[in-house]
Symmetry: C2
Subunit: 228 residues, 2 copies
Protein backbone atom coordinates (compact mmCIF):
# COMPACT_ATOMS: atom_id res chain seq x y z
CA UNK A 1 0.00 0.00 0.00
CA UNK A 2 2.98 2.26 0.44
CA UNK A 3 3.03 2.44 -3.34
CA UNK A 4 -0.50 3.81 -3.48
CA UNK A 5 -0.27 6.77 -1.14
CA UNK A 6 2.05 8.41 1.33
CA UNK A 7 1.11 7.09 4.73
CA UNK A 8 2.21 8.45 8.07
CA UNK A 9 2.94 6.55 11.24
CA UNK A 10 -0.63 6.77 12.52
CA UNK A 11 -1.88 5.36 9.25
CA UNK A 12 0.50 2.45 9.56
CA UNK A 13 -0.53 1.75 13.10
CA UNK A 14 -4.18 1.77 12.14
CA UNK A 15 -3.48 -0.74 9.40
CA UNK A 16 -1.49 -3.00 11.68
CA UNK A 17 -4.34 -2.87 14.19
CA UNK A 18 -6.70 -4.50 11.70
CA UNK A 19 -7.88 -7.93 12.57
CA UNK A 20 -7.19 -10.42 9.81
CA UNK A 21 -7.80 -14.13 9.52
CA UNK A 22 -5.02 -15.95 7.69
CA UNK A 23 -5.98 -18.91 5.49
CA UNK A 24 -4.15 -21.21 3.12
CA UNK A 25 -5.80 -22.66 0.03
CA UNK A 26 -4.77 -25.22 -2.56
CA UNK A 27 -4.66 -24.62 -6.32
CA UNK A 28 -8.01 -23.88 -7.95
CA UNK A 29 -9.89 -22.94 -4.79
CA UNK A 30 -12.74 -20.50 -5.18
CA UNK A 31 -11.85 -17.68 -2.82
CA UNK A 32 -14.91 -15.65 -3.77
CA UNK A 33 -18.00 -16.99 -5.47
CA UNK A 34 -19.79 -15.03 -8.16
CA UNK A 35 -23.02 -13.52 -6.87
CA UNK A 36 -22.24 -14.18 -3.23
CA UNK A 37 -22.91 -11.75 -0.42
CA UNK A 38 -19.56 -10.76 0.97
CA UNK A 39 -18.61 -9.56 4.44
CA UNK A 40 -14.84 -9.82 4.13
CA UNK A 41 -12.21 -8.53 1.75
CA UNK A 42 -9.30 -10.67 0.78
CA UNK A 43 -5.64 -9.78 0.57
CA UNK A 44 -3.38 -12.17 -1.32
CA UNK A 45 -0.25 -12.78 0.75
CA UNK A 46 1.37 -15.51 -1.29
CA UNK A 47 0.63 -17.33 -4.53
CA UNK A 48 -1.36 -16.30 -7.60
CA UNK A 49 -5.05 -15.91 -8.30
CA UNK A 50 -7.38 -14.64 -10.98
CA UNK A 51 -10.78 -13.02 -11.24
CA UNK A 52 -13.17 -14.70 -13.62
CA UNK A 53 -16.72 -14.86 -14.81
CA UNK A 54 -18.70 -17.59 -16.56
CA UNK A 55 -20.96 -17.16 -19.56
CA UNK A 56 -24.33 -18.81 -19.92
CA UNK A 57 -23.07 -21.37 -22.41
CA UNK A 58 -20.25 -22.71 -20.26
CA UNK A 59 -17.46 -20.39 -21.37
CA UNK A 60 -15.10 -18.78 -18.92
CA UNK A 61 -13.40 -15.40 -19.11
CA UNK A 62 -10.52 -14.51 -16.87
CA UNK A 63 -10.76 -10.82 -15.96
CA UNK A 64 -7.49 -10.13 -14.21
CA UNK A 65 -4.52 -11.70 -12.52
CA UNK A 66 -3.56 -11.15 -8.91
CA UNK A 67 -0.04 -11.15 -7.52
CA UNK A 68 1.06 -11.47 -3.92
CA UNK A 69 0.28 -8.21 -2.14
CA UNK A 70 -2.82 -7.48 -4.23
CA UNK A 71 -6.26 -7.01 -2.80
CA UNK A 72 -8.52 -9.46 -4.57
CA UNK A 73 -11.88 -7.85 -4.08
CA UNK A 74 -11.73 -4.37 -2.62
CA UNK A 75 -14.94 -3.64 -4.49
CA UNK A 76 -16.72 -5.39 -1.64
CA UNK A 77 -15.97 -2.51 0.67
CA UNK A 78 -18.93 -0.72 -0.91
CA UNK A 79 -20.71 -3.35 -3.02
CA UNK A 80 -22.21 -6.11 -0.94
CA UNK A 81 -22.62 -8.63 -3.70
CA UNK A 82 -19.79 -10.08 -5.74
CA UNK A 83 -20.16 -9.72 -9.51
CA UNK A 84 -17.40 -12.18 -10.35
CA UNK A 85 -15.47 -15.08 -8.88
CA UNK A 86 -11.91 -15.23 -7.64
CA UNK A 87 -9.93 -18.43 -7.89
CA UNK A 88 -6.39 -19.43 -6.94
CA UNK A 89 -4.01 -20.39 -9.73
CA UNK A 90 -1.48 -21.84 -7.31
CA UNK A 91 -1.51 -22.74 -3.63
CA UNK A 92 -2.08 -19.46 -1.86
CA UNK A 93 -2.21 -17.88 1.54
CA UNK A 94 -4.62 -15.02 2.08
CA UNK A 95 -5.82 -12.65 4.77
CA UNK A 96 -9.52 -12.01 5.24
CA UNK A 97 -10.45 -8.63 6.67
CA UNK A 98 -13.96 -7.60 7.63
CA UNK A 99 -15.51 -5.13 5.21
CA UNK A 100 -16.78 -3.06 8.08
CA UNK A 101 -13.31 -2.67 9.56
CA UNK A 102 -11.97 -1.48 6.22
CA UNK A 103 -14.81 0.95 5.78
CA UNK A 104 -14.26 2.40 9.23
CA UNK A 105 -10.54 2.59 8.63
CA UNK A 106 -11.05 4.39 5.35
CA UNK A 107 -13.24 6.93 7.10
CA UNK A 108 -10.95 7.46 10.09
CA UNK A 109 -7.74 7.64 8.07
CA UNK A 110 -8.43 9.43 4.77
CA UNK A 111 -4.96 8.66 3.45
CA UNK A 112 -5.62 4.98 3.82
CA UNK A 113 -9.04 5.37 2.32
CA UNK A 114 -7.54 7.08 -0.69
CA UNK A 115 -4.95 4.35 -1.05
CA UNK A 116 -7.72 1.76 -1.14
CA UNK A 117 -9.79 3.78 -3.58
CA UNK A 118 -6.76 4.32 -5.75
CA UNK A 119 -6.13 0.59 -5.80
CA UNK A 120 -9.63 -0.06 -7.12
CA UNK A 121 -9.13 2.64 -9.75
CA UNK A 122 -6.02 0.90 -11.02
CA UNK A 123 -7.92 -2.39 -11.15
CA UNK A 124 -10.51 -0.62 -13.26
CA UNK A 125 -7.83 0.76 -15.57
CA UNK A 126 -6.48 -2.75 -16.03
CA UNK A 127 -9.96 -4.04 -16.82
CA UNK A 128 -10.37 -1.35 -19.48
CA UNK A 129 -7.09 -2.30 -21.08
CA UNK A 130 -8.29 -5.90 -21.14
CA UNK A 131 -11.39 -4.84 -23.04
CA UNK A 132 -9.10 -3.36 -25.67
CA UNK A 133 -6.86 -6.40 -25.69
CA UNK A 134 -9.62 -8.89 -26.14
CA UNK A 135 -11.76 -6.71 -28.38
CA UNK A 136 -9.35 -5.24 -30.86
CA UNK A 137 -6.13 -7.17 -31.08
CA UNK A 138 -5.20 -10.34 -32.97
CA UNK A 139 -4.35 -13.56 -31.19
CA UNK A 140 -0.57 -13.10 -31.08
CA UNK A 141 -0.85 -9.54 -29.84
CA UNK A 142 -3.30 -10.54 -27.13
CA UNK A 143 -0.97 -13.17 -25.76
CA UNK A 144 2.05 -10.88 -26.04
CA UNK A 145 0.16 -8.15 -24.21
CA UNK A 146 -0.78 -10.53 -21.42
CA UNK A 147 2.86 -11.54 -21.01
CA UNK A 148 3.97 -7.91 -20.99
CA UNK A 149 1.42 -6.99 -18.37
CA UNK A 150 2.31 -9.88 -16.12
CA UNK A 151 6.02 -9.23 -16.49
CA UNK A 152 5.76 -5.52 -15.65
CA UNK A 153 3.34 -6.00 -12.79
CA UNK A 154 5.68 -8.58 -11.34
CA UNK A 155 8.50 -6.11 -11.62
CA UNK A 156 6.50 -3.24 -10.13
CA UNK A 157 5.55 -5.46 -7.22
CA UNK A 158 9.22 -6.08 -6.58
CA UNK A 159 9.63 -9.63 -7.86
CA UNK A 160 12.66 -8.88 -9.97
CA UNK A 161 13.38 -8.26 -13.64
CA UNK A 162 10.66 -8.87 -16.22
CA UNK A 163 12.79 -10.97 -18.56
CA UNK A 164 12.38 -14.28 -16.84
CA UNK A 165 9.74 -15.74 -14.56
CA UNK A 166 7.33 -18.56 -13.93
CA UNK A 167 4.00 -17.98 -15.58
CA UNK A 168 1.45 -19.52 -13.23
CA UNK A 169 -1.06 -20.35 -15.95
CA UNK A 170 -1.87 -23.26 -18.21
CA UNK A 171 -2.39 -22.56 -21.89
CA UNK A 172 -6.07 -23.12 -21.33
CA UNK A 173 -6.05 -20.33 -18.75
CA UNK A 174 -4.12 -18.06 -21.07
CA UNK A 175 -6.88 -18.75 -23.55
CA UNK A 176 -9.56 -17.88 -21.01
CA UNK A 177 -7.74 -14.63 -20.29
CA UNK A 178 -7.37 -13.65 -23.93
CA UNK A 179 -10.65 -14.93 -25.33
CA UNK A 180 -8.96 -17.69 -27.33
CA UNK A 181 -8.93 -21.50 -27.26
CA UNK A 182 -6.07 -23.38 -25.70
CA UNK A 183 -5.23 -24.89 -29.08
CA UNK A 184 -4.80 -21.50 -30.65
CA UNK A 185 -2.81 -20.22 -27.70
CA UNK A 186 -0.47 -23.13 -28.14
CA UNK A 187 0.12 -22.32 -31.79
CA UNK A 188 0.67 -18.62 -31.24
CA UNK A 189 2.98 -19.28 -28.32
CA UNK A 190 5.02 -21.40 -30.67
CA UNK A 191 5.03 -18.60 -33.22
CA UNK A 192 6.47 -16.24 -30.62
CA UNK A 193 9.04 -18.87 -29.80
CA UNK A 194 9.92 -19.55 -33.43
CA UNK A 195 10.67 -15.91 -34.14
CA UNK A 196 12.91 -15.81 -31.10
CA UNK A 197 10.92 -13.41 -28.95
CA UNK A 198 10.36 -15.81 -26.08
CA UNK A 199 11.71 -19.14 -24.89
CA UNK A 200 9.85 -21.58 -22.71
CA UNK A 201 10.60 -24.58 -20.59
CA UNK A 202 7.45 -25.77 -18.90
CA UNK A 203 6.07 -22.81 -16.96
CA UNK A 204 9.40 -21.05 -17.00
CA UNK A 205 9.19 -18.16 -19.43
CA UNK A 206 12.15 -16.30 -20.81
CA UNK A 207 11.54 -13.10 -22.73
CA UNK A 208 14.45 -12.88 -25.12
CA UNK A 209 13.42 -9.76 -27.01
CA UNK A 210 11.51 -7.48 -24.65
CA UNK A 211 11.22 -4.46 -26.99
CA UNK A 212 9.85 -6.65 -29.73
CA UNK A 213 7.36 -8.35 -27.42
CA UNK A 214 6.16 -4.90 -26.39
CA UNK A 215 5.75 -3.95 -30.02
CA UNK A 216 3.90 -7.15 -30.90
CA UNK A 217 1.63 -6.82 -27.87
CA UNK A 218 0.98 -3.10 -28.49
CA UNK A 219 1.87 -2.66 -24.84
CA UNK A 220 2.10 0.68 -23.06
CA UNK A 221 2.49 0.39 -19.30
CA UNK A 222 0.86 3.77 -18.65
CA UNK A 223 -2.45 2.16 -17.70
CA UNK A 224 -0.82 0.44 -14.74
CA UNK A 225 -0.28 3.84 -13.11
CA UNK A 226 2.88 2.57 -11.51
CA UNK A 227 4.47 5.91 -10.64
CA UNK A 228 3.45 7.02 -7.18
Amino acid sequence: MERLAHLDETDRQAIHALHARIETHPTYSMLVKDGARVTHCTLLLDGFACSQKDTGDGGRQILSLHLPGDFLDLNHVLLDRSDHAVQTLTPATIARIAVQDLRMLAEARPRVGQALWRDTLIDAAIAREWVVNVGRRGATARIAHLLCEFATRREIAGFGPPERFDLPMTQEQIGDATGLTSVHVNRKLHDLQDIGVIARDRRDLHIRDWPRLIRIGDFDAAYLHASA
Copy 2:
Protein backbone atom coordinates in the same frame (compact mmCIF):
# COMPACT_ATOMS: atom_id res chain seq x y z
CA MET B 1 -25.74 10.51 -6.53
CA GLU B 2 -28.72 9.87 -4.32
CA ARG B 3 -28.76 6.42 -5.83
CA LEU B 4 -25.22 5.68 -4.66
CA ALA B 5 -25.49 6.49 -0.97
CA HIS B 6 -27.80 7.97 1.59
CA LEU B 7 -26.88 11.60 1.90
CA ASP B 8 -27.99 14.00 4.60
CA GLU B 9 -28.71 17.68 4.31
CA THR B 10 -25.14 18.74 5.08
CA ASP B 11 -23.88 16.43 2.37
CA ARG B 12 -26.26 18.00 -0.12
CA GLN B 13 -25.23 21.48 0.83
CA ALA B 14 -21.57 20.61 0.41
CA ILE B 15 -22.27 19.27 -3.04
CA HIS B 16 -24.25 22.32 -4.05
CA ALA B 17 -21.41 24.51 -2.83
CA LEU B 18 -19.05 22.98 -5.40
CA HIS B 19 -17.87 25.31 -8.07
CA ALA B 20 -18.56 23.92 -11.55
CA ARG B 21 -17.96 25.31 -14.99
CA ILE B 22 -20.71 24.45 -17.44
CA GLU B 23 -19.76 23.79 -21.06
CA THR B 24 -21.58 22.67 -24.17
CA HIS B 25 -19.93 20.55 -26.84
CA PRO B 26 -20.96 19.33 -30.28
CA THR B 27 -21.06 15.71 -31.40
CA TYR B 28 -17.70 13.91 -31.46
CA SER B 29 -15.82 16.34 -29.21
CA MET B 30 -12.97 14.92 -27.21
CA LEU B 31 -13.86 15.78 -23.64
CA VAL B 32 -10.82 14.03 -22.22
CA LYS B 33 -7.72 13.08 -24.19
CA ASP B 34 -5.92 9.82 -23.61
CA GLY B 35 -2.70 10.31 -21.68
CA ALA B 36 -3.48 13.89 -20.66
CA ARG B 37 -2.80 15.30 -17.25
CA VAL B 38 -6.15 16.14 -15.76
CA THR B 39 -7.11 18.68 -13.14
CA HIS B 40 -10.87 18.54 -13.50
CA CYS B 41 -13.50 15.84 -13.40
CA THR B 42 -16.43 15.91 -15.74
CA LEU B 43 -20.08 15.32 -15.05
CA LEU B 44 -22.33 14.68 -18.01
CA LEU B 45 -25.47 16.80 -17.66
CA ASP B 46 -27.09 16.22 -21.00
CA GLY B 47 -26.34 14.08 -24.06
CA PHE B 48 -24.36 10.88 -24.48
CA ALA B 49 -20.68 10.08 -24.45
CA CYS B 50 -18.33 7.11 -24.51
CA SER B 51 -14.93 6.17 -23.18
CA GLN B 52 -12.54 4.77 -25.73
CA LYS B 53 -8.98 3.76 -26.39
CA ASP B 54 -7.01 3.41 -29.61
CA THR B 55 -4.76 0.52 -30.55
CA GLY B 56 -1.38 0.92 -32.19
CA ASP B 57 -2.64 -0.19 -35.58
CA GLY B 58 -5.44 2.34 -35.82
CA GLY B 59 -8.24 0.35 -34.26
CA ARG B 60 -10.61 1.81 -31.73
CA GLN B 61 -12.29 0.15 -28.78
CA ILE B 62 -15.18 1.77 -26.98
CA LEU B 63 -14.94 0.96 -23.28
CA SER B 64 -18.21 2.23 -21.90
CA LEU B 65 -21.19 4.43 -22.54
CA HIS B 66 -22.16 7.43 -20.46
CA LEU B 67 -25.69 8.68 -19.84
CA PRO B 68 -26.79 12.05 -18.54
CA GLY B 69 -26.00 12.20 -14.84
CA ASP B 70 -22.90 10.01 -15.10
CA PHE B 71 -19.46 11.09 -14.05
CA LEU B 72 -17.19 10.58 -17.02
CA ASP B 73 -13.84 10.31 -15.36
CA LEU B 74 -13.99 10.08 -11.59
CA ASN B 75 -10.78 8.08 -11.76
CA HIS B 76 -9.00 11.40 -12.09
CA VAL B 77 -9.74 12.20 -8.48
CA LEU B 78 -6.79 10.01 -7.57
CA LEU B 79 -5.01 9.28 -10.86
CA ASP B 80 -3.52 12.36 -12.42
CA ARG B 81 -3.09 10.99 -15.89
CA SER B 82 -5.91 9.80 -18.10
CA ASP B 83 -5.55 6.26 -19.45
CA HIS B 84 -8.31 6.58 -22.02
CA ALA B 85 -10.23 9.19 -23.98
CA VAL B 86 -13.81 10.35 -23.56
CA GLN B 87 -15.78 11.56 -26.54
CA THR B 88 -19.31 12.85 -27.01
CA LEU B 89 -21.71 10.77 -29.09
CA THR B 90 -24.26 13.58 -29.34
CA PRO B 91 -24.22 17.29 -28.53
CA ALA B 92 -23.66 17.43 -24.81
CA THR B 93 -23.51 19.77 -21.88
CA ILE B 94 -21.11 19.00 -19.08
CA ALA B 95 -19.91 20.36 -15.78
CA ARG B 96 -16.20 20.52 -14.98
CA ILE B 97 -15.27 20.28 -11.32
CA ALA B 98 -11.76 20.70 -9.96
CA VAL B 99 -10.22 17.44 -8.82
CA GLN B 100 -8.96 19.10 -5.68
CA ASP B 101 -12.43 20.25 -4.70
CA LEU B 102 -13.77 16.74 -5.10
CA ARG B 103 -10.93 15.27 -3.12
CA MET B 104 -11.49 17.71 -0.29
CA LEU B 105 -15.21 17.11 -0.40
CA ALA B 106 -14.70 13.35 -0.24
CA GLU B 107 -12.52 13.80 2.81
CA ALA B 108 -14.81 16.25 4.60
CA ARG B 109 -18.02 14.36 3.87
CA PRO B 110 -17.34 10.61 4.03
CA ARG B 111 -20.79 9.76 2.77
CA VAL B 112 -20.14 11.72 -0.39
CA GLY B 113 -16.69 10.20 -0.70
CA GLN B 114 -18.21 6.75 -0.48
CA ALA B 115 -20.78 7.63 -3.10
CA LEU B 116 -18.01 8.68 -5.47
CA TRP B 117 -15.92 5.62 -4.73
CA ARG B 118 -18.97 3.42 -5.20
CA ASP B 119 -19.58 5.03 -8.59
CA THR B 120 -16.09 4.13 -9.73
CA LEU B 121 -16.58 0.57 -8.47
CA ILE B 122 -19.68 0.20 -10.58
CA ASP B 123 -17.79 1.53 -13.60
CA ALA B 124 -15.19 -1.14 -12.95
CA ALA B 125 -17.88 -3.81 -12.73
CA ILE B 126 -19.22 -2.68 -16.09
CA ALA B 127 -15.74 -2.81 -17.59
CA ARG B 128 -15.33 -6.38 -16.34
CA GLU B 129 -18.61 -7.40 -17.90
CA TRP B 130 -17.41 -5.87 -21.18
CA VAL B 131 -14.31 -8.04 -21.05
CA VAL B 132 -16.59 -11.06 -20.89
CA ASN B 133 -18.84 -9.73 -23.62
CA VAL B 134 -16.08 -9.03 -26.06
CA GLY B 135 -13.94 -12.00 -25.08
CA ARG B 136 -16.34 -14.88 -24.85
CA ARG B 137 -19.58 -14.22 -26.68
CA GLY B 138 -20.52 -14.53 -30.34
CA ALA B 139 -21.35 -11.50 -32.46
CA THR B 140 -25.13 -11.59 -32.01
CA ALA B 141 -24.86 -12.07 -28.26
CA ARG B 142 -22.40 -9.18 -27.96
CA ILE B 143 -24.74 -6.81 -29.70
CA ALA B 144 -27.76 -8.07 -27.78
CA HIS B 145 -25.87 -7.62 -24.53
CA LEU B 146 -24.93 -4.07 -25.44
CA LEU B 147 -28.56 -3.27 -26.15
CA CYS B 148 -29.67 -4.85 -22.89
CA GLU B 149 -27.13 -2.89 -20.90
CA PHE B 150 -28.02 0.39 -22.50
CA ALA B 151 -31.73 -0.22 -22.08
CA THR B 152 -31.47 -1.11 -18.40
CA ARG B 153 -29.05 1.66 -17.55
CA ARG B 154 -31.40 4.11 -19.21
CA GLU B 155 -34.21 2.76 -17.11
CA ILE B 156 -32.20 2.83 -13.89
CA ALA B 157 -31.28 6.44 -14.60
CA GLY B 158 -34.95 7.28 -14.87
CA PHE B 159 -35.35 7.69 -18.62
CA GLY B 160 -38.39 5.47 -18.87
CA PRO B 161 -39.10 1.91 -19.93
CA PRO B 162 -36.39 -0.14 -21.62
CA GLU B 163 -38.52 -1.32 -24.54
CA ARG B 164 -38.10 1.70 -26.75
CA PHE B 165 -35.46 4.37 -27.07
CA ASP B 166 -33.06 6.19 -29.32
CA LEU B 167 -29.72 4.45 -29.53
CA PRO B 168 -27.18 7.27 -29.86
CA MET B 169 -24.67 5.17 -31.81
CA THR B 170 -23.86 4.43 -35.42
CA GLN B 171 -23.33 0.82 -36.41
CA GLU B 172 -19.64 1.58 -36.67
CA GLN B 173 -19.67 2.66 -33.03
CA ILE B 174 -21.59 -0.43 -32.01
CA GLY B 175 -18.82 -2.35 -33.74
CA ASP B 176 -16.15 -0.44 -31.84
CA ALA B 177 -17.97 -1.24 -28.61
CA THR B 178 -18.33 -4.95 -29.33
CA GLY B 179 -15.06 -5.64 -31.11
CA LEU B 180 -16.75 -6.21 -34.46
CA THR B 181 -16.77 -4.48 -37.82
CA SER B 182 -19.64 -2.25 -38.84
CA VAL B 183 -20.45 -4.62 -41.67
CA HIS B 184 -20.90 -7.52 -39.33
CA VAL B 185 -22.89 -5.43 -36.88
CA ASN B 186 -25.23 -4.55 -39.69
CA ARG B 187 -25.81 -8.19 -40.57
CA LYS B 188 -26.38 -9.34 -37.02
CA LEU B 189 -28.68 -6.42 -36.31
CA HIS B 190 -30.72 -7.60 -39.26
CA ASP B 191 -30.74 -11.12 -37.86
CA LEU B 192 -32.19 -9.83 -34.60
CA GLN B 193 -34.75 -7.92 -36.59
CA ASP B 194 -35.63 -10.90 -38.80
CA ILE B 195 -36.38 -13.13 -35.85
CA GLY B 196 -38.63 -10.43 -34.43
CA VAL B 197 -36.65 -9.58 -31.32
CA ILE B 198 -36.09 -5.95 -32.21
CA ALA B 199 -37.45 -3.42 -34.67
CA ARG B 200 -35.57 -0.38 -35.89
CA ASP B 201 -36.33 2.84 -37.64
CA ARG B 202 -33.18 4.88 -37.96
CA ARG B 203 -31.79 5.32 -34.44
CA ASP B 204 -35.14 4.52 -32.88
CA LEU B 205 -34.91 1.08 -31.37
CA HIS B 206 -37.88 -0.99 -30.31
CA ILE B 207 -37.26 -4.13 -28.28
CA ARG B 208 -40.18 -6.38 -29.14
CA ASP B 209 -39.13 -9.44 -27.17
CA TRP B 210 -37.23 -8.33 -24.10
CA PRO B 211 -36.93 -11.77 -22.41
CA ARG B 212 -35.56 -13.25 -25.60
CA LEU B 213 -33.06 -10.44 -26.10
CA ILE B 214 -31.86 -11.02 -22.56
CA ARG B 215 -31.44 -14.70 -23.32
CA ILE B 216 -29.61 -14.07 -26.58
CA GLY B 217 -27.34 -11.51 -24.94
CA ASP B 218 -26.69 -13.70 -21.89
CA PHE B 219 -27.58 -10.63 -19.88
CA ASP B 220 -27.80 -10.49 -16.11
CA ALA B 221 -28.20 -7.00 -14.70
CA ALA B 222 -26.56 -7.92 -11.38
CA TYR B 223 -23.26 -6.35 -12.41
CA LEU B 224 -24.88 -2.92 -12.64
CA HIS B 225 -25.43 -2.98 -8.86
CA ALA B 226 -28.59 -0.97 -9.30
CA SER B 227 -30.18 -1.67 -5.94
CA ALA B 228 -29.17 0.95 -3.41
